[in-house]
Every structure is written in C-alpha cells, then in structure tokens.
Amino acid sequence: MFQRFAIIVLLLALAGVAPVSAAFAGDDAIVVIAAYTPTDSVDQPVVVAASAPQDDFAAGFDDDPAPGDASEVLIADPLEPLNRGVFWVNDKLYFYLFKPVARGYRAVLPHPVRVSVGNVFSNLGAPVRIGNSLLQFKIEDLGAEVYRFFINTTFGVGGLFDPAAKFGGVKPRQEDFGQTLGYYHLDHGCYLVLPIVGPSSLRDATGSFVDSFADPLRYTNLETEEYFAIKMVDMTNRLSLDRDTYEGIVRDSLDPYLFIRAAYAQRRQAQVGKTYNMNLLEGPLFDGDRLDPFNLFGQN
C-alpha cells in the first residue's frame, strides 16, 4: 500500500518538476504551441511566422543557387583518394562484421533491453554535453542536460531509464567539442573518413579526442582492452537499434561516398547552428538573450 503511494508521489513529483524544468530547458512543446498560429484565410498565403525569427525562415531557402555561382562544395576534401580507401574498408567491415554481429546481438536481447543499454551509454555522455553547452554559454541546453543527468542517474537507476524525457519531456541535446569549435567559427578544415568511426573532419576528430577526456569510463580502472570492448558494445547496441540507414543510402544514392559526405557536412552545419557573434556592436553576445537573468525562468 505504502509502496504504491510512494510511486504515485514520485510520479507526481516528476510531473510537477517537468513544467518548471521546461521553462528552464526551453521545452520544445511550448515554443511550438506559441509559434503555431493558424490563420483562417485559406485563399492566399500570409506570413504566419509568429515567434519564429524571420532570418530563420530565409535560411530555409538560402540554398537557392545563384546563376553562375561556383559549384557547391559543402566541405573541402583534399584527401578524397585516401578517404575513399578508408570508406571502402569501413563498408566491408560494416557488411561482413559489424552488421552480422549486431544482428546476432539483436536476436539475443529484446528491444527494451537494448534501449536501456543505449540509455546508459547516453547518460555516460552527459559530462561531454554539459561541458560543451557551458563552453558555448547555451544555458537552455546546459539546464536540460544537468536536469537529465540527475534525474536519469537517480530515478532512472543509473541511466537505465529515461524518466527525464518520458515524464519530464526534456529531450537530450546534441553537444560535442567539434560543435563548440564550430560555434566559435572554426571550420572543418577538411573531410576525414576515420577507420570504423566513419565520417568526420579535422575539426570534429579533434573534438572527439578532446571529448574523450570527459568520458567517465576513462577514469575507471579499466584495462585498455576492456575500454575498447565497452566501446564496441556501445557501437553494436547502436547498430542493433538502427533501421538500416546505411543500407538505404547505399541502395539509393549514385555514389554513397559523396552522399554521406554531403549529409555529414549539412548535418554538422545544422547542429552547430547559430554561431558566436563576433561583432560586439551588433546584436547580443553568445546565445542571445538567454543570458539575461530576467529572461531565464520565463520566456516572454
């Protein structure tokens, strides 16, 4: 009896925490609802962008190629012959080693278990995301990640479950040191295809190396082999949850190498998003008005 009561109280507490954290973490739902203002006139399109900034809209169309424009290069790739070599090896590794292993792994472990394993690894990545949100002064992301880390480590039993998202509605953010460097206007340098890891760049590979110092597993008494074994479990688990993304790309694109390179460049660009404002005289510093203490706990 008491147990059931305790669980209900716990759930209520979580649900109560959620909206508060939502204000702090900028929960998407609120933003979305505020931005969604349907109009009654059906005849002609009118501007409906309510709270969405106008430049965001224009950015959606900024890919219109200007006539006579230089050919579109999304990321420099001077090492293409080498990269293609590594890509070829990775492709074979994928189809003949990693994917079959992941398929066996999927056959043995049921879906919820694999999701939980993924949650644990994701939770272990919290220090990286927290650190990088801080480095970019992304207060919303920082709040979300700190909240997620504490809730999921405690109520989520060491990260096995994700009550922060399930009950709190706070989704994980994507932050890494490569993004932080991008935020401060550092470019990719050049495209790299890393063995096993796959698409990366000079900047992002450096970022991953720096991030590895914030990996809690690094500070345990694990042998090097054990460390890599755990990393392989992480990768296998992730592959087992994947819906044949790579197979789809190979099947659909004329040249999978080119397609993945372009997708990687675009994806990273979208993740870096808004960059640090270098011009002090123009507009707010860092992540905009989010540093405004009066605005921290209540948007609008």
Binding site: P19, V20, A22, A23, A29, I30, V32, I33, A34, A35, Y36, T37, P38, T39, D40, V42, P45, V46, V47, V48, A49, A52, F57, G60, F61, D63, D64, P65, P67, G68, D69, S71, E72, V73, L74, K99, R103, V115, K171, R243, D244, E247, G248, R251, D252, S253, L254, D255, L258, F259, R261, A262, A263, A265, Q266, R267, Q269, A270, Q271
Partner: protein, 202 residues
C-alpha cells in the same frame, strides 16, 4: 502550477483553432502524408501494389521541375533541353524509389505537425516523425506555382535532400560529364526497380 494552467489554456486555445480550416500549405502536406499512410497501412495490398499506388499519388504533390532545376544548380543552365528532360525523367524515378524505400521504414510511425511559415510564394512546414522512441524532424519546403502548392525539398534532421543531391551530382558531372551522370542514374534506376534482394529484414 501557474505554468500548468498556462500550458493547458494554450493547448485548449490551439485545439479550438484547429476546428477551423487548416491553413493551406500544412493541409497540403497532411493530405499527401495521409494518402501515403493510408495505402501503407492497408493490409489487403501487397508491397508492390502499395508502391504503384503511392507513386501515382505522390507525384502530384511534388514540383519535379523545381527539384531538377535545383538539383542541377549551375549545370541546369549549361544543359540542353533534351538533357534537362532526360535528367528530369531519371530523377523522378530515383526520387520515387528513394521515397518508397524510406516510407516503408516509417510507416508505423506517427507524423506530428508542428508549425508552418509562409512567405510570398514559399512555405516551410515543420513536422516530426515519431517511430519507436525516435523523433525525426522533417521539414517540407513548398513553392506556389501555377495555382498549386508543391513540395520542392525535404529537410530531414537539418539535411536538405536537394542540396545533398546537388552536391553529389555536381561532382559527378564535373568528373564524368552529363553522359556519365545519366549512365549512373540509369544504372541506379535499374537496380532500384529490381525486387529488394540485398536489403536485410528488420
């Protein structure tokens, strides 16, 4: 508590406006997605039947002309009329096959419509596909031509499909010329139309 009330009242507000006619661009996307999903979820049809049904339905919602123009980018201007037509013919087949292969993966998912923005003759519709703990943001970019709104690009998790195609196709044209590109595309169309043999089962 205050925030909960605010949230609830906002939800009520939104729900009450939904009763009115939806704005056109989003309604258009919903129409397309729903017509595809209704076919996908029909348990009576075989996969091939579904595919042929869907390809007919989707084409009217896509602006193939605008898509091919954008995909070739600067190489559109340099192409002859025959080359443009040849390209459009192959491109639509590739697009269709890609779309059909993808929709198969997400047919059990739910599509949430988040917001739409309209400016002049263009519109962006933000949606999220929710399938198995996964949330994939998908944006539909639409253009108003000849009295109808049509999709000309899909942006999935920040990756624009057309931009991706442009980048790869441009590289192939630079390397092998138009004929090289067409040869590759024809080969791909042949491969894709064959029954899936190598693809694994979930």
């Amino acid at each position: 508590m205050k925030r909960i009330i605010l949230l609830l009242s906002l939800i009520v507000l939104v729900l009450s406006t939904v009763c009115h006619a939806l704005p056109e661009p989003q309604a258009k996307v919903e129409e397309m997605v729903n017509s595809v999903l209704s076919v996908m979820r029909d348990s009576q049809m075989t996969l091939d039947q579904k595919k042929s049904q869907i390809s007919g339905r989707v084409q009217q919602f896509l602006n193939i002309d605008s898509m091919s123009r954008r995909t070739l980018g600067q190489y559109w201007d340099g192409a002859s009329v025959e080359q443009r037509e040849h390209f459009a013919r192959l491109f639509i087949k590739i697009l269709e096959a890609t779309y059909l292969n993808r929709i198969e993966d997400y047919s059990d998912g739910d599509v949430k419509y988040q917001k739409q923005r309209v400016k002049d003759d263009k519109a962006i519709i933000d949606t999220v596909i929710v399938a198995n703990e996964l949330e994939i943001p998908v944006q539909y970019l639409m253009i108003y031509t000849d009295g109808s709104l049509q999709v000309f690009d899909l942006v999935i998790e920040g990756v624009s499909l057309v931009r991706n195609y442009r980048s790869s196709y441009g590289e192939i044209i630079r390397r092998d010329g138009y004929d090289g590109l067409f040869a590759l595309m024809e080969e791909k169309v042949r491969d894709m139309s064959e029954p899936a043999s190598g693809s694994s089962v979930q």
